[in-house]
Symmetry: C2
Subunit: 144 residues, 2 copies
């Protein structure tokens, strides 16, 4: 298994609402058969009906009940960038679940959930460099 | 918000078990403070205690109960590649939740859950090209 991810599919209850949320944050996608595809760096982020996604995975669906066990992070290039994005997300309809705070490792981050409860962390992490194209490289962590 | 994802963090109940699973599939990671970081293309895939991740997102944790609402896909370059990877995943301790099947759009895919129930779809999708480095480009979907 190559060390990469091709698609992240978020199960949603209302594709139009979910699409509007991400578009309000500036993303642009394509919609085909009630499925929205966003190019997100070297992978695709997809919005699809939660029931269809569960079925496609061969899993019983169930109502979203709190934390789903996965968080997506979007790292930015400054602390101000974290604040700005959290403000924009709240304006777009996100629920801020953790206001931005520094931690003792130099990370500055906050978190929100999208309209379907999917968790996003927004972080400035000077230890994890972002390339100009936004790709992230995990540094050598020996010695931390 | 730039159109990209920096990290995907999977909440797990046993970091060592989860790390062993992904390493059995050939991934290599670094572990720091009970957190495992894998470089996965242009982003990081992280394994972290589910309770800590929930807290970091400002969300109440709850036991994993079935489908968490998100699926990760790993696309490969042939139908045989799907079969091979599902076999390897099962051998590594995954639960096959959907055996590989073709659909009417030319996709060939199956699905499994990892030891913590996180859903992975393994797909051969000739309509979504993979670059040599494994990055995926969503094609122009007009006309589908």
């Amino acid at each position: 298994m190559e060390q990469r991810v091709s698609l992240i599919t978020l199960g949603v209850t209302d594709v139009t609402r979910a699409r509007s949320f991400y578009e309000a944050l500036g993303w642009q996608g394509q919609e085909v058969q009630e499925t929205v595809f966003f190019q997100a760096g070297g992978l695709g982020l997809v919005l699809w009906g939660r029931d269809k996604l569960a079925r496609d995975c061969g899993l019983p669906d169930g109502a979203a009940t709190g934390f789903g066990g996965i968080a997506l992070s979007h790292n930015v290039r400054s602390e101000a960038g974290v604040d700005d994005l959290l403000t924009a997300a709240e304006r777009a309809g996100a629920t801020i679940t953790k206001p931005a705070l520094p931690n003792d490792l130099g990370l500055y981050s906050g978190a929100f959930t999208d309209p379907d409860g999917h968790a996003w962390e927004i972080a400035y992490n000077p230890g994890f460099p972002l390339a100009q194209d936004g790709s992230l490289t995990i540094p050598d962590l020996n010695g931390l």
